[in-house]
């Protein structure tokens, strides 16, 4: 069977999607199947779950009217978010907070995280402290004759030293 999208390759995937509430099935080759699904005219990836969000959003906002909210960080407006189904940046979560609460409830049945907390950050060293540590590692590497590692460490030290002197100037 030949792919119904490109008419060139062998169709290996039966692809079912919903168009205006009607089930439509097409036979596609493996390179056309994701194209059908994941691309908008702009070439931006939209996942099927993104489409679900768009559907949920249009139902939500039909009832409440338009919102003028806009994200101060990335400039995405609520209207754009409604179209794309995806946030522009983490700031959008705050910008669209009120509507978001309802949307998350609709999608997940809850709008409250009760899973894993923030991953513990490793204490970051100052460049000076890191240089001291790297020098020790460098000595050890040379002693072991691990020259490749030694070279990497040396490069990193040079890079850091350059950074600290530039800052102090």
């Amino acid at each position: 069977m030949i792919c119904e999208s490109c008419n060139k390759h062998e169709a290996t995937i039966r692809y079912t999607h919903i168009v205006e509430n009607k089930k439509k099935t097409v036979n596609l080759c493996s390179s056309c199947a994701p194209k059908e699904e994941d691309h908008q005219a702009t070439g931006v990836v939209t996942s099927a779950s993104g489409k679900k969000v768009v559907a949920e959003l249009s139902q939500l906002t039909a009832a409440e009217g338009a919102s003028a909210a806009q994200c101060a960080e990335c400039g995405m407006s609520y209207q754009e978010f409604k179209k794309a189904g995806r946030f522009g940046c983490q700031g959008c979560y705050n910008a669209f907070g009120e509507q978001l609460e309802r949307l998350l409830k609709r999608i997940h049945g809850s709008a409250r995280h009760c899973g894993k907390g923030r991953v513990k950050q490793r204490q970051l060293l100052s460049p000076e402290e890191e240089i001291v540590q790297l020098r020790q590692a460098l000595e050890a590497a040379v002693a072991e004759e691990a020259f490749e590692r030694a070279a990497e460490l040396r490069d990193r030290i040079v890079q850091l030293e350059k950074g600290t002197t530039e800052e102090s100037l």
């Binding site: 931006v44 990335c74 997940h108 991953v119």
Partner: protein, 354 residues
């Protein structure tokens, strides 16, 4: 490792360990994470994307689990090479097809991988053979802790991990099992089972992901929601549900055998015969025959054919794998010939061993 080596590599998750007589092939967890320093991947500039890649690679280098991982940048690969990574379940079709600075990092045994700049800055994946849901969660959690120690993840108390799409907000966790349900399909019980699953906030997809039919009676079952429950609860729910599904499938198999043992055995042996001798095999036909042989393994009708053998065969007979092996692009007709010959060759070896 070049891509030809990769195509011949046997990923750990294909080993068939703990796979409940071939019913649950594998279990996969993935976490969606973003760095707070940059807009989400689709809004990030190529410069931002480059920086994200550099940061993720640095944190991996510093980790105990991925310090010797292999990295491929998407724009350095040809379309065919990206398809190979999709066929190995190391990247999503979406990553393979998108422009910009994106890549994938994975371990040689292919158990852990990280897609960089897909929908989210990071998509961490652990994939294990059989039904080891808790272990798949433990592994991805440990990797997340290691990478996250050097990366500043976007996270709030209230909403948990912030993701580009609100369907992943919270835990960012998607856990899925790849399950073989031939008797439920044969008994035409699958529709009913699927409706039940959707009702319980689980999603069912075919082997090739969203929107695809279940080739070879293989289904991917995964959680639909990521907010409001802890990771452990999500994982345990999926495991419990999978065990129930296994029970349903076992019952359906018994019914089948009780009603029509000879016909079932005949179907299995015919499939075995065709795989051993066919000269032309489309991927669809191959997957259907393999499903019958897999059922034969589960029912102990066929002995000497192992899960790992079938799992590997399923991977290496995919189009991009055949083309990588051939070293050139093949027409569909050529692929069907090569697929049949590869399957014949492997079946021959398997029989002489068994």
């Amino acid at each position: 490792m070049n891509l030809q080596d990769l195509a011949r590599n046997s990923a750990d998750w294909l080993s068939g360990a703990d796979d409940v007589d071939g019913i649950v092939l594998s279990c996969r967890t993935r976490l969606a994470r973003n760095l707070s320093s940059s807009p989400f991947a689709h809004k990030a500039t190529e410069d931002d994307q480059e920086k994200i890649i550099a940061q993720v690679l640095a944190s991996a280098k510093d980790s105990s689990q991925m310090n010797s991982a292999i990295f491929f940048k998407m724009n350095a690969l040809k379309t065919e090479e990206r398809r190979l990574l999709v066929e190995r379940h190391l990247i999503s079709p979406a990553l393979a097809d998108s422009k910009g600075q994106r890549g994938v990092l994975f371990n040689r045994n292919e158990a852990l991988s990280v897609m960089i700049n897909e929908e989210d800055h990071l998509r961490l994946q652990a994939i294990l053979p059989g039904l080891k849901a808790l272990e798949a969660w433990a592994q991805i959690n440990a990797l997340d802790n290691e990478l996250g120690a050097r990366l500043d993840y976007a996270h709030t108390e209230k909403w948990g991990y912030l993701t580009a799409c609100p369907t992943n907000t919270g835990t960012g966790l998607r856990i899925s099992v790849l399950i073989h349900l031939p008797a439920l399909v044969l008994n035409e019980d699958m529709e009913r089972v699927l409706r039940g699953l959707t009702h319980m906030a689980f999603t069912v997809r075919g082997f090739y992901g969203e929107g695809t039919n279940a080739a070879g009676n293989l289904f991917q079952i995964s959680n639909q929601t990521t907010l409001g429950r802890s990771e452990e609860e999500i994982v345990q729910d999926l495991e419990r549900l999978t065990r129930e599904l296994i029970e349903c499938e076992r019952n359906a198999q018994e019914t089948l055998l009780a009603d029509a043992r000879s016909q079932v055995e005949d179907k299995i042996w015919r499939a075995y015969g065709l795989l051993s001798h066919a000269r032309v095999l489309s991927s669809q036909e191959f997957m259907n025959l393999l499903s019958a042989v897999r059922l034969g393994h589960t029912l102990s009708v066929l002995k000497g054919i192992s899960s790992s053998f079938m799992n590997r065969l399923m991977i290496v007979t995919q189009p991009s794998h055949l083309q990588t092996e051939a070293g050139r692009v093949l027409k569909p007709e050529e692929r069907d010939l090569r697929r049949a010959s590869l399957v014949r060759e492997h079946m021959g070896k398997q029989v002489s061993q068994g």
